[in-house]
């Protein structure tokens, strides 16, 4: 990591996938995230590197690929810190995605989202 984390479109896309997977027992590995975000491999893995550096996600190897002839995959999930951070970021930048998740997955602990956020200027 050579600088502070910047919030980019791919970064938010990947976070959206992680948040959408909360509570749905979905195993997220690199290829699944690439398919879900429709982003290229290097882009997705660049984001995963940053999220791991920030300790927002942890990776875990599967014991064995269901197809024994294939290499094992690495599954990722949000850490408690990552969950809080991801929710705060998405609430700020993509509240519509959280509203969608809250509507489709009730009971996951998604809070109620305000319809409008207060507006203000930059420094």
């Amino acid at each position: 990591m050579t600088g502070p984390p910047r919030i980019t479109g791919p970064f938010l896309d990947v976070l959206e996938v992680f948040v959408s997977a909360l509570g749905s027992n979905t195993d997220l590995h690199g290829w699944a995230i690439m398919k879900a975000t429709k982003r290229s491999g290097p882009t997705v893995y660049g984001v995963l590197d940053r999220l791991e550096d920030m300790r927002w996600i942890t990776g875990e190897w599967e014991t064995q690929n269901p197809d024994p002839s294939k290499p094992r995959r690495r599954f990722y999930q949000l850490t408690p810190t990552g969950r809080t951070g991801a929710m705060a970021l998405l609430r700020e930048r993509r509240p519509q995605s959280l509203r969608r998740d809250a509507a489709t997955k009730p009971g996951l602990g998604f809070p109620e989202w305000p319809d409008a956020l207060p507006q203000g200027g930059m420094a």
Binding site: G3, P4, Y45, G46, D53, P80, T81, R91, G120
Partner: protein, 261 residues
């Protein structure tokens, strides 16, 4: 007859190429991972992981194209790293003895110098503020609700709290800045908001922040002002916002060396 032979040979070549594509792709992604990452543990992990990813990708030639994408990206990363290393070496050679420790921001010792920095570059001013608070922060590129960045702290082993930071560089600090931040803290369900101002805040601004109440840490029972106003003069005097211990993952902070190491 010749045409038939050529087409058969071409077919065999194409078939052979498509057969070795997955093998080439796996070798290529392993090479990419080992070149891209300087941390050997992560390089080894990614090499294995990307091999699995290539296997999951449908189509033999698509596997190869994906691997070429990873290889191209790795070459760019290596090139950038090498360029940065050479620039650092050049800069070291050009730096006179005794000047090594003088960083651009370390000379900011009074409000006037920080004011000049703000007038030259509001972004660098904001980065200087971050370096003073000394916690890694997530930048909000679009400053919705006046929030410029956020940072986190641990509440307990499973839950984290959010601190929203708003940086204002103008000469006048209206009360609306505090109200906006209070609104953002409530809307974002954050625990604490910090307003950092270049100008000294007026009494009405401080009162507005004081009236926002306190947040009580559910584990320790400590209380923290819900919205705090801190000026550049305060920061220069060594005062810092009143927050729980902020999370400091080991990544490089702006102008602050490796934060959290």
């Amino acid at each position: 007859m010749t045409a038939i032979v050529i087409s058969v040979i071409l077919g065999l070549i194409v078939n052979e190429c498509s057969e070795i594509s997955p093998w080439c792709a796996r070798r290529l992604v392993k090479w990419s991972a080992l070149r891209r990452y300087t941390d050997p543990r992560r390089a080894a992990e990614r090499a294995e992981e990307l091999s699995a990813l290539i296997d999951a990708r449908p189509g033999k030639l698509l596997k190869l194209f994906s691997a070429l994408g990873f290889a191209g990206s790795a070459v760019l990363v290596v090139f950038r790293r090498e360029l940065a290393r050479r620039l650092d070496t050049m800069r070291e050679k050009l730096t006179k003895p005794g000047q090594e420790s003088v960083e651009a921001f370390s000379v900011l010792r009074d409000v006037e110098a920080v004011q000049a920095l703000f007038e030259r570059s509001p972004l660098e001013f904001e980065q200087w503020v971050r370096s003073q608070i000394a916690a890694p922060m997530i930048t909000m590129l679009a400053a919705d609700g006046g929030v410029d960045c956020l940072t986190l702290f641990d509440i307990d082993r499973t839950d984290s709290g959010v601190v929203l930071v708003s940086v204002k560089g103008g000469r006048i600090i209206p009360q609306t800045f505090v109200r906006d931040l209070i609104g953002a803290v409530e809307a974002q369900q954050a625990q604490i908001g910090i307003l950092v101002t270049l100008a000294n805040p007026t009494k009405s601004v401080i009162d507005a922040a004081t009236h926002s109440g306190v947040w009580t840490h559910p584990v320790t029972g400590q209380t923290f002002p819900r919205v705090q106003v801190i000026s550049v003069a305060d920061l220069l005097a060594g005062r810092r916002p009143c927050t729980p211990q902020l999370i400091t993952p080991p990544f490089r902070g702006p102008w602050g060396g490796i934060v959290g190491d």
